[in-house]
Structure formats: structure tokens, C-alpha cells
Amino acid sequence: MNLPLTDPVLLAQDIPDSLVARLRSSGQAVCLRFSWKGDLLASGTAKGTIAIFDLETNGVARKLKGHTNGRTVQSLSWEKSGRYLLSSSIDWKVILWDLKDGSRVRVVSLGAPVYIAELHPQNYLQCVAALYEYRPVLADLTATTPKQHALPNLPKRAPHELDANPEKADAKHFTTVAAFTPTGSHIITGTTKGWLNVISTTTHQTIYSTRLCSKPILLIRLSASGRDLLVNASDTIIRTIKLPDLSSPTLAPDQIRLDVEHKFQDVVNRLSWNHVAFSSSADYVMASTLMNHDIYIWERGHGSLVKILEGPKEELGAVEWHPHRPFVAATGVESGRVYLWSINTPQRWSALAPDFLEVEENEEYIEKEDEFDVQPVEELQKRRLDMEDEEVDVLTVDAEQLEREGGKKGGQGGGGEFFRMPVLLDMNESDSEDEMVAIGTGQFRRKSTAREEREFEDGEEEGDGMGDSGAGVVVQDVEEDTARAGRKRRRP
């Protein structure tokens, strides 16, 4: 509901520009995923725990423990309403969590370390997983003992392409990554030999294959619309690919063609990319770099580099773009912190008093004809009251607003039900090891009193305010007297 009052300049900005917060829970975060609504951020650690961050408070909203201690969480996947979360780990397990009470709905052992597991977008009781040196699996979690269907590793080839000795060529050809299309009708997988396969979710058959490169595919991301594919391969090239509407019933497998739209690479330094993501609208592509502290953001129209996000003094691992805001999260490879970038929102002075106006340059004030006319107070009052005759509806909520709140959701179907995560008041906060807690744009507050603030040599925070802010005291960015200023101005 803050949209009508937000500065249009800020609304037009679609790339984050400044580091606003660092989050930390127990352990070293290695993977991240925003919930569909974007109010929560799940992070998995190298030690097998999962923390859900509340992005309104930047605090931990829930901790989930269930994977084998010490085994890295590999991937996270949210159900649409935000109630269920699927996690996978190299301990062979995928776990479906119910965030209502933090319980495990299903724990499935897939028999091999999991590269990545993803929930079906419409049905949270179905998931696909890519396994280490094994065939990818489509698991149906409806029953308490889940059914697993192995999916093909090998690309679909025309008869003449088949080698004389297929066994030999196809040995060591495994799937490294799998992802659902937004309707869930198809699964797109990438293999160790650089192939992309499109597999039907219903028939489990590969309907189309194409080879992008000879190196393994590392990651596949789909845009929210499902028409764009982002592929990171170990040949240091990120590719965007236009997808046909795979859910269209008229689409025949032989009509599918996947053409590379853009290739992003660093031709000078030959940087390779740790992790890639689309922006919320898929207008931008973002990547974290190996052995480098920056996040690169390219614009897709022309394929040009538009922004380098910097700030942390360490290499960044997983990167995620918020589902609908210019807001980026990334994990630090060494510290395991979660870094958040957003746009800077300066205080507009015109908001502080109704008759303040922001002007580009000085203007000469021309007084109105009747500005200093004395009018009987009562008459003015009466006239004003008489003008208050419009119909006012204080009850009806716009359909648009309702949808934004996620209360009622038409279309799409499945998983649209409303879920609000319970607020846990007994969270064991000793788990959080960070000594400073970010509380907003460039704002940090000390978590406990007696600690050195060596974290903050980066210099973008306000050192002064922080020095004397003990526990429970917060730093203010706007001077205390803005409130007063606003008022004084009104009375000459």
C-alpha cells in the first residue's frame, strides 16, 4: 500500500545499487532461495542446517535441522504459498518441510548425493532431483513412502546420430541439474557433456535435446514467465535461451528449437561464474564470479554489462534476485554470511511537511491574490465542512491489493492458498553469531555490548552512530530534528 506514496524515481529503478545488510545464522550459508512472495529468504548451510530469514526484520524466523550434520545443503525450493520448503543435501536426502510447525512432511533418501532438487510449481508433493553419477529422479511424495521414477540421462538423438558403440560414448554421461518449467509440464535437465534435455513430466520421455558445449552444465534457471532459460556451463560462458511455450498442447516435439540468444563471458580475464540468476522480470542476468568479489549484472536487450555490485571483501557463492523487487542476496564463500543489496532511498524533504515542495532551483514566490485576505473563521470552517461531501469507501479493498497480499488468488490454481508463518517468540537467538544486526539501509545495530566492531572497516556504515550505540540503542540516519524542522517551516 506504500506504492502511491513512493517516489516514482525509485520505482523506476530496477537494479539494486548498495549493500544494505548482512545476515548470519548459525553456520556457513551456501545456498539461498527467496519465497515466492519475497518476504522470506531460506538459506542452507555447509553443516546441513537451514535458516529462514524474515526480510522485514532481517532476523531468523525459523531454523530447520534434519539433514545429516556436517553435510552441505545443496538446494532449496519453495512451494508457492510459502508453507512448504524442499531441501536437498549431499547426505542423499531430500526433505519436505512444513513451516507451519517446522516438521518434516517427507524425508526421502534418493540413494546418491543430490546436486539439486526442485518442487513441482503446482504440486508440492512432486519433485525432481539431479543426482551424483546416477539418473535424475522424479519423486511423487503423495504417499508416505514416495514413488521414484528414474528419468533418462541421455539426450534424444536421431537414429543416424547414434554411435556404433553407444555404451562407450554414453558411459559417464550424467545429469547435473534439473528444473521444472513454470507450469510443471516439462523438466529441463543439463548433463555432464553439455547437453540440454527437455523431458515430459507425464511420460518421462526426453522430447528434445540440444548440445550447448562440451563441458558440464552447472546450473539452469528459468524466468518466471518460463520463456527464458539461463544456463551456466563450466566453459565460462553464460547463455540465455528463448524457450517455446512448452505447455502449449499444439507444440510438437519436432518443432522445438532452442537457440542461444546471448552469451555472456569475460573475454579478458576468462572469469568463470559461480552462480547465475535472472532478475525478477528476466530483463537482467546476474552472476557471481569465481575468485572475485563482484556480482556482474548484464542487461538482456543488448547483452551489455550494466552494473557490478561490490561491497563484501570475499568471493560470493550463490546469488538470488528477489521475485519482484530490485533486491539481491548472495552468500559469502569464506564467511558464510548472506549479503543483501537494495536501492538507496533518500528521505524526501517534501514529505516532512505538507507545504514543502522540492524544486530544482530557487523560485521567486508570487503571493496569491487572496493569500492575506482576512476571512471570518467560522465561514471558512463552514465552507470547508460543506465541501466534504464526496462518497468515501473505507471498507472495500482493491482486488489488486488483495492479490498482492496473497489473500485470494485466482487463476494459476494450486498452492495459492494463504499461509502466514507463525512468529516464534522463543527462537534461540544465541545461535546467531553475528555481532551486528543490520536494521535497514546502511544501518547496523550492535547485538551484544562488549565486542570490537572489526567487521566494519568497509566504511560504508556510519561509524559515529555505531560507536556509542550499545545493545538496544539504534542508529538513526535522519537527524533528530527533522521533525522539528518540518514544523518550524510551517510557521513563519
Partner: protein, 427 residues
Amino acid sequence: MSITEHDEPARRSPKRKRSESPNGIPQHDGAPDAAALQYGYDEEMPSELQSPAEQDEDGMAAKRQRRERPRRLNYVPYMTLRGHKRGVAAVKFSPDGRWIASCSADATIKIWDATTGAHSRTLEGHLAGISTIAWSPDSKVLASGSDDKIIRLWDIATGKALPSPLIGHHNYVYSLAFSPKGNMIVSGSYDEAVFLWDVRTARPMRSLPAHSDPVSGVDFVRDGTLIASCSSDGLIRIWDTSTTQCLKTLVHEDNAAVTSVRFSPNGKYVLACTLDSCLRLWNYVDGRCIKTYQGHKNEKYSINAAFGAYTAELGAASEMDGEEPERWAFAVCGSEDGRAVLWDVSSKEVLQELKAHEGVMLGVDVGPDDTIVTCGLDKTIRMWKRQPLPPDANGVHESTVVVPIVAPVVEDSTPVNGTPAGTQEDG
């Protein structure tokens, strides 16, 4: 006496769209006949006399016109809850409608069953009077702000205070609100600051340099993205929750101290009480005061206001087989002469005045099933239920209406020392 009792036929809100100037403000240039034009719609116009064209403008509207907006409401006293030893500052229905919480200058909070009026718990722990309470959205936790500068959270299931109170304000805590998700609390204090708290860690997240006088009211908008605050410096400020920056400031010319602020149920307006005996509805996006409700007396005390909704008839929902009955909104506010006044939000006309309390009436909340709860300096809490209008009613219930009386519920086993609510009204 009061402005309801004038002789001319009561005004009704305009049912049809009048031509409007492009910006939605009716033209008014002060020409002599303007006033007459303004009231053009006020004449009674039976729906059958309206031109068919007008009725066909849209089918729904024509259909609805048959169901007149009632010009009077008939809330009758239903229960009186006693037990507090000093004035009761605020009453709040729990979001699930099961409980009523009240807080008092006697430093206690009492929880009452909203249907039976039975006293359920007394929450003790504050060291000074309590000015404000707020329910968490799941109705499981109650937050209270006290003159001991501390905000406490109470587990309703056990009646115990949660171990970590919210400490940080330098002066009396005056007003509180939970965010719609229940993860944050906003508080306003005599120390002139607005604090935003992380409920999970019980720590302040941000302090808003809000006002230059005590902050008398705070509220969250329905989706939690905005915070409203008001102060006796006469300002109402609207804040962005995520950036905690001021987005808008509302000031009325008179600069009268603002004592409470509340977002409308749909979040598009704010309702504010000021110490010039006015209740104002603001369109905060345009920064315009669009309605001024008068008829009560409020010059000294912090009196809360609330929104409510009413339908044409009681139980109208069932009659109209499935179709949502048309609802209108009312605003209700206490008065320093003990009345509670209900206004129609659009027409500004007084729908009812309740003789609610002896002395100042302080707090009011509107609950489910057409109930209202009020509290005042006379240490009592009153519950009111809407009844059908008697045939000849002209809105003043206490002389005309026979009321089913429920004996007042008295805390614990204290002997019944009150008279039945209805009879007391006549005295």
C-alpha cells in the same frame, strides 16, 4: 442537545454520482448559490421517482438502491464488565473475536470472554498504568505499553509475560500496534520517538525521529507496508515500513494535538482524533482532510476512535441468499461527557449516540457480529449489541427501547455490586 436531533429530515448520503470536477473535488468558488447546489442531493428522493435511465446506469446499483442505508443504528447495552480499580484506557477485541482485553491505570490487563463476558485472566507485571494494548494477528499474544516505559508481551494461553520485555523507550509508552504478520511492533512514546521492534528478538530495529511532542498514536496499514504516527505536535506522519522514511505529513490548519490515528479497513484513509473535538478522515495520498466528524467533546483526553461496518438489517446476509449484503462504514469515538458517537463515514451524519460511561469515555473497539465495546474513566467496560430499530425510533435508544438485559458480569467472586446495565442507563 446534539446535532442528531434537528427537526428536518435527516440527510442521507448521495446515492448517485454527481458531476465532479476532474480532481474529484466538487467545485466551490464561494458563489452565493453554491451552498444550495451543494445540498441538491439532500432532498428525500424516493427511489421510484428516480428516472429509469439513472437506475439502469448499472444493474447492481439499481438493485442496491432498494436497500436503503439505515439512518439510525440501535446499539443497546449488553454487558457491563467491572473489575478494574482505576480508569480503563483501552479495550480491544482479539482478531479471532474470542476475547476482549482491557488495560487500566491500575497497572493490570484483564482478559474477558467476548461472548459471555466472563473474566478470564488478570495480567499483572507492569509497574505503572497501562495506556495501550495490541493483539497479535493470531490472537495468541497481547502486547501492552505502560508508563513504566516497558512494552510487555503476554502469552494469552498461560497468562504469563514472555521472558523478554521490549525495553528501549525513555518515557511512557503511549501507543502500540502489531504488524499484520505479527513479526514487528510499532510503538509511540512520550519520548517523542516511534520505535519499530523485532518481536522475535524483542529488540528495537529502528527508531523513527517522528515528532517533536509525545507520540500519541501509531498504526500499521493492512499489508504492513506503511506506519502512521501522530503526536500532540499536531502532525500525522505516514512512514514506509521497510525504509522507515517519512512519506507524507498531514497537518490541519488549526494544528490541534492529534491523540489517535488509525488506518481505514481498506488502508486508503486514516482516521485521526484531535483535541479540537473533531474526528477527521484523511486521504493520506493526497494529504487532504476529506471528512470532519463533530458532535462529541474531546479537548483534553486521548480518546480512541474505531471503524465499523453495518448492513441495512440485522441478519441481512442470510436473507439475500448468498449475495453479499451492502455494507456501509461508521466511525465511532468517545466523548468527554461519557457518550460514544457513531457517524456514517460518507454522510457524516450521526447514526447513534450511546450513553456509555459516567465521565470520560476513553476507548472503543468494534468486534464481530455487530458488537461494540467501550471503556472509560468510570472503571467499567461496556459491551453493546446492535438490535433492530423499533418502528418509531428516532435513534435515541434509552427512552424507547426495551432491551434484553444480561446481568453484569463481575470479576471473580466479588459480590454483585452493579445494577443491570439497562436500568442504569435510565438513571
